[in-house]
Symmetry: D2
Subunit: 297 residues, 4 copies
């Protein structure tokens, strides 16, 4: 397919390469142009405006947050103004449920289609076509986007016809991961102060009841205390917990674990970890139990 891609950060760049490898023609726009230029070698066409990225069969956005998405959608020269009638906007970003609903309404009003298709996976997974994708939107939009989304990874699930449902699933997934992080952090700290070899304990768990990628990957990071190689930055973790709490509040759903996580992420930010991976909340658990860095890393 002939498509536009807005956003060439670490996730967007990986996605561009994967789509190009799958035979799609990709026109890339990025605010900081140099990041887009780096994709020329992989076969991307690079443009200098949002409007130019809206001339294909679909435009994909892969951006950091609501504000970034709003800045390229609304206003003169934005996606809404540039996409032709019948055009398709696929949002891969982790955005709020409220913004997803708003985008669906605005695109519909403009005679365009909108679909949310947030992805799970780190930058390497994006580059290697190993992302998990959950999509929601009008049936016709989903069908048109299949060739693209199926290229992104081995698993595509369509969750409903209202685009924001995919965002609810994405936020729920990140909440589950963050909860696993915190529970691992508490368990490892408890074990360590009790004299138990936390690595051996973790090996036991991840080879039995918790034989899953999340526990293996993050359990390892927590036991080793390696939080400076950033797969997903702390401020993004805080942002996502905040989005969960906002969307849950809108549905009048109390979420005690999410509230604890919110406090934890804030504490981690306030104590100077904003440049670390979000798994750094494990360091807070360790420090709150009096473990010095040498002891818990």
């Amino acid at each position: 397919m002939e498509i536009g891609l807005i956003g060439a950060g670490s996730m967007g760049s990986g996605i561009a390469k994967t789509l190009l490898r799958a035979g799609h023609r990709v026109t890339v726009y990025n605010r900081t142009r140099s990041r887009a230029e780096a994709l020329r070698g992989a076969g991307a066409n690079v443009v200098g405006s949002v409007a130019e990225a809206c001339r294909g069969e679909a435009v994909l956005t892969m951006l950091a947050d609501d504000a970034a998405v709003e800045s390229v959608v609304f206003g003169a020269g934005g996606i809404l103004a540039s996409l032709p009638r019948g055009g398709l906007h696929i949002s891969l970003s982790t955005i709020s449920v409220a913004l997803s609903d708003k985008l669906a309404a605005e695109h519909a009003r403009a005679g365009q289609e909108f679909e949310a298709a947030p992805v799970f996976g780190r930058p390497e997974a994006a580059e290697n076509g190993k992302l998990f994708v959950v999509a929601a939107g009008p049936r016709s939009a989903i069908e048109r986007s299949r060739p693209l989304l199926e290229a992104l990874g081995p698993k595509l699930v369509v969750i409903g016809e209202r685009s924001s449902m995919a965002n609810v699933v994405k936020l729920s997934g990140n909440f589950l991961i963050a909860s696993a992080l915190e529970s691992l952090a508490e368990a490892v700290t408890f074990a360590r102060k009790s004299g138990v070899d936390a690595g051996a304990m973790l090996d036991f768990f991840t080879s039995t009841m918790f034989n899953a990628p999340v526990y293996k990957t993050y359990g390892g990071l927590i036991v080793e205390g390696k939080h400076d190689q950033v797969g997903f930055a702390l401020p993004l973790g805080l942002k996502d917990v905040k989005l969960v709490l906002q969307a849950a509040e809108a549905q009048v759903v109390p979420m005690p674990f999410a509230s604890i996580l919110h406090d934890r992420f804030l504490t981690a930010m306030a104590r100077g970890n904003e440049k670390n991976d979000w798994s750094v909340i494990a360091r807070i658990a360790a420090e709150d139990a009096g473990l010095a860095r040498a002891q818990h890393a």
Copy 2:
């Protein structure tokens, strides 16, 4: 081996059958004798006192809580008084770290050996030799017990020479499971009130990042709202969270998620769920969000 087994509840009975099948000679004692008698058909020898169960190469205890273990260990006719010098006591029960330390000290004083080998798994796993076992104790005790523990299931991990280390791992594991329960409960409630098909969402998660037995088993129970088929009863869940908090307090370790779980389990008890499976805390999450039973089951 020639061994005694004290405790013929659902877990103990399954273990007896598995050990008999593996060729060990098992003498069973249970306070309510009829439960022990039911094991005669599987080849067990049944006795009427703790002392009679202490005449083999080792005695295993598989009981509900600290009080039950203390009642068969201490006092006239108890294990301490009945086991010969050099005798071995293997505790399979989920008991407190403090009691494990006390048992190690008392048995050592009596010239006996003590080992903690708590198990993970439901009654069916006990009966089918599918338990996961984590053991700790003096090296000689561990070696003597290997033929028994390896018969219980596919995975035996030795975590250290101090018996209570195995109890720390067991409590940590149950804490991780309970945390997974609560996070699933909140995510499913949030998704449901947002109009998302929680079953489809869960299928997505358990076929990707959370592809692990805990999430599959409990996720299914939570989505279906089936909490009356009891694999692990709510009061036992409350007991274990309490043991985690006590042991963590003794090591000066704050555990915010464990605190939330403690409040949740108490709420579930107070609202009349004491005969349900511990996964019933998901019902509390649903009710607190205003979902009536029909909606969340």
Copy 3:
């Protein structure tokens, strides 16, 4: 002074009467005009537009939330457009820190003055001139407003020159009150289930260490279980906790008690208490402990 007052809800009406009684000339605007008309008898002038309320020496706003304030400030015919250069806007409402900062900036840009002067007290206190007022804003604005604010009650404190500081104090105060509510609720429930006469216990506390209006008033409501006479409605309580959490997040401040309160208020909403006084969170504490309504009221 010659002033305008926008907002004739229960608080605004009380304030209008108090200012009229103090000799000020008050022009009232309210979206639902009938509520404003009811103040004619007390001497108020009633107008049909925001602009007409902006012709005096100052305009006061006493509205329910950010959205209500924004709707009368911005746009054609709003306060910003209607107030003359040098005009003064005094916001008595409980609004967000962010909106207060924004109003200060916008009024300054328009050559006008802005001051935040949120008030503590129930409608009776507003009508009887018994409010406590905390004000912040440019010194000249504060001086101009003194005759008005001092008429509102016995206590006026000026907390700084940045208007939003007064909103921080207001939100902090409401947070302290909500925390007192929750702690009373838990203590009363604990005492009751322990067989203790909660009323007698409360009398003891409020005649000794907790000899303060908040504990007396709310302690009484909680012991009696009277939550249907609304002094401050549950949704407003939820709104204020949310504003605290938002403002604290903006300053990177974790607030564990506020997080608990947020979950409590949401639970109370979801369980059907949206028309009750915010002290109804005590009912949640009672129900979570298994106390039926008869027992805890």
Copy 4:
């Protein structure tokens, strides 16, 4: 009256002086004899055994915790063995509900009377006869003790005939104070990071809605960051929260604020504050928000 007093710590010594001043004859026993000897100047008789302190009309115990009380009550030469039939034991200590019930039962079995009369107030209040006392026990015991308890301070409340009810009230009171501490800590931290003068804010609150001793005393300590002059040590605060949670659990009462406090006190202990006043939990709130010591003290 002719009485014995066991425990001459800072609280016990103050109580001894107050009772002596009121004309009672006081025989003091303290494990570390020198602390008792220091009371000779005030007119106390000093003895070297528990038994000798049990020869008057009543014996009072004012000790640190359950273990200390048990050590002087049970066993050979303990209060139970030494007090004559009809003798009266008045426990002023903050002990567990369970121990209070046990003491009532054991004394009754021995034909003796037992009463719990825990006190509120710091050492200075004990010495100056300014304590608040809450008592529970058999009516006859209460009547006999009145001359003593009324001498201790201006306020004596009798809460019931079951001794442990007084302990429930004492624990509830300490929980309310600890909750006030934490809420003040969060509010002050929030205000400070928002640029607000926390001292001025506190003055406003304690001269209006929170015009009560607890808020004035502790608010002042928190604003000044003075936690090294110990009125009530952090480990005692932790102990009391633990007793609240245990007693609440026994009654199946979830207490979310108490759970948070438990985590906070543990964190404060783990971070090296065990020699500080319990108000030091305010330092944890400040540090978790990134305030360095200079900024929050």
